[in-house]
C-alpha cells in the first residue's frame, strides 16, 4: 500500500542521505521523493511516497522521526490533502500529429514548452493519475524521454504541518 508522508528537516548537509539511507536499510520502498526549501529558511520539506506491502506506516514514521535532524513527520491521507506532480515529456511529433498533441495538451491544461523539428516537449502538472493518463495517451506517438518531479503534497484547510501532532506509540 502506498502512503504519502511529509517530513520537515533541518536544512543541513547530509540530511537527504540520512533519510534516504534509513529507508533503504530498513527495507522501506521509496516510490518517489521530492525535496525543497520552505517558508522558513533553515527548514526543508520532503514529500515521500512509500510503498509498504506488509508493514504498518508507523514503523516508518517512528524510525524517520528518530533522526536528529528531522523535525516532524506526518502522513498526508489522500482524502485530506492535495497532491501534485510535474512532468516534462518529450514526444515524437512529426508535422501530421502536432495538432493532435497540442489539442491533448490543452485538454490536460498542459503547456508546450519546446518544439524541435520532429519533437515537442510538454509540461503537465496535476495529480499523479492525471499525469499518468496523459503519458498513456501520447505514448502512441512515441515518448523520447520524460521526467517527473515526484509527488508534492499539502494538507487541505488552513492548518500547517506544524500544527499537527506526530502520532507516537500505539
Amino acid at each position: 500500500m502506498k502512503h504519502t508522508i511529509a517530513v520537515l528537516v533541518e536544512n543541513k548537509p547530509g540530511v537527504l542521505a540520512r533519510v534516504s539511507g534509513l529507508f533503504a536499510r530498513r527495507g522501506f520502498n521509496i516510490h518517489s521523493l521530492a525535496v525543497g526549501t520552505t517558508e522558513s529558511p533553515n527548514v526543508s520539506r520532503m514529500t515521500i511516497v512509500v510503498d509498504l506491502p506488509e508493514r504498518p506506516l508507523e514503523h516508518v514514521t517512528k524510525q524517520v522521526y528518530k533522526l536528529i535532524n528531522v523535525l516532524k513527520v506526518i502522513e498526508l491521507e489522500p482524502e485530506l490533502s492535495v497532491e501534485r506532480e510535474l512532468m516534462l515529456i518529450k514526444v515524437r511529433a512529426v508535422a501530421e500529429v502536432r495538432a493532435r498533441i497540442i489539442e491533448l495538451t490543452e485538454i490536460f491544461r498542459g503547456k508546450v514548452i519546446d518544439v524541435g523539428t520532429d519533437s515537442m516537449t510538454i509540461e503537465i502538472t496535476g495529480a499523479p493519475e492525471k499525469i499518468q493518463a496523459f503519458e498513456d495517451l501520447v505514448a502512441v506517438y512515441g515518448i523520447i524521454e520524460l521526467v517527473k518531479s515526484g509527488r508534492v503534497a499539502l494538507s487541505r484547510g488552513s492548518k500547517s504541518i506544524k500544527d499537527r501532532q506526530l502520532r507516537v506509540a500505539g
Binding site: 533541518e10 547530509g14 528518530k66 536528529i68 523535525l71 506509540a169
Partner: protein, 592 residues
C-alpha cells in the same frame, strides 16, 4: 579568552562535559588533537587497535553509566571503529567517537586516508557530526554528549577535518543545547499507566519482562520494588542481567535461545507480559508468531519505534523506564482496594516448580574433561558474584550469563545485539578503567580472545589488572554446535586446536601473567592466584571439553515451546506443560 586552536577547543569542550578518559590511537588527520592532550586533564589510553578503543569505550560506559569516549584518525583509523560503534548502537550504549578528517580543501578528492566516516558510521550510530568550522567545536561536543547520553542512549561520532583542528580562533564555551528535532519523551502518559495497572490487576499469570532499558535508566530498585509489591516473577534479558539479583525468589533468570526452561516457559505461558525496556528481540521471542500466545502485552520503552515493532503492544508506554516504574508503582498502590486484589501465588507455585525441576545442568567428574560451566561457576563463587564480568560472543558468553548469579546491575557486560566477537578483552579494559576498585573478569572464548588480545599490551603498559578466563574449547564452539545439530555433524572450518597459540606464552610475551588449567582440581588455585595479581592482566587458559554443548536451546526459527533441554535431561524427559495452541500457519522469517 585568547586565541586557541580547534584542537585545544576540542579538549576544553571535552573537559567541560566531564570527560576523564579517552581510548584511542593517533594518526595524521587527528594529530593536532594529540598536542593539547598533553596539557589536558583528560587521560588518554593508547590502544593497540581502534576496534579495541571502541569496545573499551563501550565497556567503560556499560560499567559506569558515563559516556565512553574513543578517538581515531581518518580513513582506516575511523573505519576500524565501526564494529565497536555498531555494537554500542545495537545495545544502546552511550559512546562518543572523535575522528580526524582530511583537511577541508582535500575533502571529496580521495585524499590520502580520506573516508566518508559520517556516511559510513551513519547507519550504526545515533547521530554523526561533521564539524566544518572551529567555532562549532564546543557546541558540537556538548550536543554529541547530550544525544549520546539521553533518551535511548547510543553512539555519536564527531568528525573534524585537520585544518579545523589547526585553525586559531577565539574560544567560546558551548551554550545550552537546543536540538529542535530531538525531544525524547521521558514522562509516561498517565492514562497508559492506569491502563497497564488495570491489565496487571486482571491478569493471572503476569511476568515482568525486564530489558536493558532498566539498566540505562538506573531503575533496578524500582523494578525490584514493583516485583515485590505485586509478587510478579521477573525474567532478565541478556542485556538486563543483574537488574534483580539472581538469588531473589522472584527472579527467573534469562529467557531466550539459551535461556533456562523456567524463564522461556514462563513467557510462553504468561497471560500478561510487562515489558520494561526490552526489544522483543528474535533471540528472546523465538518464532514470533508462537511467542507468548496467550499474553497481552504492556510495552514500555523510551524509544517509541521499539514499541509494537516486533509484537503488537496492547498498552504502549513511551517513557523512561524509571519514570514508568515509579508511576506504575504509585498507581497500583492508589488502586489497592479499588481493583480486586490479584493473587498470583498459584502461578508462582507453577513457576517455582519448573525452577526446581529444570535448572541449568552439566556434569563435572573428578577425572573427566574440564567443563566450561564448572569454570564459570567457580569464578562466580570465588568472587562471590561481586565482580564485573565481561564476555565475548559464543558459548562462553551464554555460560557466563547462565552460571553467574548476578547481584547488581552493570556487572554483566557483553555485546548482545551485535554479537561482536572480540568484544570481551577491550570491554573489560574499559570497565576496569571506569571502575578501578572493582574486580573485572573477562569470560572469553579462544576464538574471541584472538580477535582483540593485542589490548593485553595496552593493559600491561597502563597497569590495568583484569583477569581473563579463556574457556578454551579449541573451537569456534557456538558455530561447531550449530554444525553438530543442524548440519549433520559436518564440521567445516571451526577447529582452532588447544595449542596454537600457546596462550600462556602469548600472555607472557605481552607482559602479562599466563596460567594454564587442565583439570577441575586446579581451577580454584588458578582463580585465586589471578585474584592476587594487581599490577597487570592475568590470562588463564582453561583447557575445556572440546565438545561441550550449550543448553537449553531454542533453535533459530523454532517456537519457544520446542526448547531443547539437552542430554542432561534425556534420562528424565520433560513433561511439557504447555497447552495446545492454534498458531497461525503463516511463516515467520528465520534469523540464524
Amino acid at each position: 579568552m585568547s586565541e586557541v586552536t580547534g584542537a585545544k577547543a576540542l579538549f576544553l569542550a571535552l573537559e567541560a562535559v566531564g570527560v576523564e578518559h579517552i581510548f584511542g590511537i593517533p594518526g595524521g588527520a587527528i594529530l593536532p588533537a594529540y598536542d593539547p592532550l598533553i596539557d589536558s586533564t583528560v587521560k588518554h589510553i593508547l590502544c593497540r587497535h581502534e576496534q579495541g578503543a571502541a569496545h573499551a569505550a563501550d565497556g567503560y560506559a556499560q560499567a559506569s553509566g558515563k559516556v565512553g569516549v574513543c578517538m581515531a584518525t581518518s580513513g582506516p583509523g575511523a573505519t576500524n571503529l565501526i564494529t565497536g560503534l555498531a555494537s554500542s548502537f545495537m545495545d544502546s550504549i552511550p559512546v562518543v567517537a572523535i575522528t580526524g578528517q582530511v583537511p577541508r580543501p582535500a575533502m571529496g578528492y580521495d585524499a590520502f586516508q580520506e573516508s566518508d566516516i559520517t556516511g559510513n558510521a551513519g547507519p550504526v550510530t545515533k547521530h554523526t557530526f561533521l564539524v566544518m568550522e572551529p567555532d562549532d567545536i564546543a557546541q558540537t561536543v556538548a550536543e554529541a554528549f547530550h544525544i549520546a547520553s539521553t533518551g535511548r542512549p547510543g553512539p555519536v561520532l564527531i568528525d573534524i577535518p585537520k585544518d579545523v583542528l589547526q585553525a586559531r580562533f577565539t574560544y567560546k564555551p558551548a551554550g545550552p543545547v537546543d536540538l529542535p528535532g530531538y525531544q525524547p519523551t521521558t514522562k509516561p502518559n498517565q492514562r497508559q499507566i492506569v491502563e497497564a495497572a488495570k491489565l496487571i490487576a486482571e491478569s493471572e499469570r503476569p511476568i515482568l519482562y525486564a530489558g536493558g532499558g532498566i539498566i540505562k535508566a538506573g531503575a533496578s530498585a524500582e523494578l525490584v520494588q514493583l516485583a515485590e509489591m505485586t509478587g510478579i516473577p521477573v525474567v532478565t534479558t541478556l542485556m538486563a542481567r543483574g537488574v534483580i539479583p539472581d538469588g531473589h525468589d522472584l527472579c527467573l533468570g534469562m529467557p531466550g535461545m539459551h535461556g533456562n526452561y523456567t524463564a522461556v516457559t514462563a513467557l510462553q505461558r504468561s497471560d500478561l507480559l510487562i515489558g520494561i525496556g526490552p526489544r522483543f528481540d528474535d533471540r528472546v521471542t523465538g518464532k514470533l508468531s508462537h511467542f507468548a500466545p496467550d499474553a497481552k502485552i504492556i510495552h514500555a520503552d523510551i524509544d517509541p519505534a521499539e514499541i509494537s515493532k516486533n509484537r503488537k503492544a496492547d498498552v504502549p508506554i513511551v517513557g523512561d523506564a524509571k519514570a514508568v516504574l515509579v508511576e506504575l508503582i504509585k498507581v497500583i498502590e492508589s488502586r489497592r482496594g479499588k481493583d480486586s486484589q490479584p493473587d498470583y501465588s498459584a502461578w508462582r507455585d507453577t513457576v517455582n516448580g519448573w525452577k526446581k525441576a529444570y535448572p541449568y545442568k552439566y556434569t563435572q567428574t573428578e577425572d573427566g574433561p574440564l567443563k566450561p560451566q564448572y569454570v564459570v561457576e567457580r569464578i562466580a563463587a570465588l568472587t562471590d558474584g561481586n565482580a564485573i564480568y565481561c564476555s565475548g560472543v559464543g558459548q562462553h558468553q551464554m555460560w557466563g550469563s547462565q552460571f553467574i548469579p548476578f547481584r547488581r546491575p552493570r556487572t554483566w557486560i557483553n555485546s548482545g545485539g551485535s554479537g561482536a566477537m572480540g568484544f570481551g578483552v577491550p570491554a573489560a579494559m574499559g570497565a576496569k578503567v571506569a571502575m578501578p576498585d572493582d574486580e573485572v573478569w573477562c569470560i572469553d572464548g579462544d576464538g574471541c580472545f584472538q580477535m582483540t588480545c593485542q589490548e593485553l599490551a595496552t593493559m600491561a603498559v597502563e597497569k590495568i589488572p583484569i583477569k581473563i578466563a579463556i574457556l578454551n574449547n579449541a573451537y569456534l564452539g557456538m558455530v561447531r554446535q550449530w554444525q553438530e545439530l543442524f548440519y549433520d555433524e559436518r564440521y567445516s572450518e571451526v577447529e582452532f586446536g588447544w595449542d596454537i597459540p600457546d596462550y600462556v606464552k602469548l600472555a607472557e610475551a605481552y607482559g602479562c601473567i599466563g596460567l594454564r588449567v587442565e583439570s577441575m582440581q586446579d581451577v580454584d588455585t588458578a582463580i585465586e592466584k589471578a585474584r592476587g595479581v594487581n599490577d597487570r592482566p592475568v590470562v588463564i587458559d582453561f583447557r575445556c571439553d572440546k565438545g561441550e554443548m550449550c543448553y537449553p536451546m531454542v533453535a533459530a526459527g523454532s517456537s519457544n515451546d520446542d526448547i531443547i533441554l539437552g542430554p542432561e535431561y534425556e534420562k528424565e524427559p520433560v513433561a511439557h506443560e504447555l497447552g495446545d495452541h492454534l498458531y497461525s500457519q503463516e511463516e515467520d522469517m528465520v534469523i540464524d
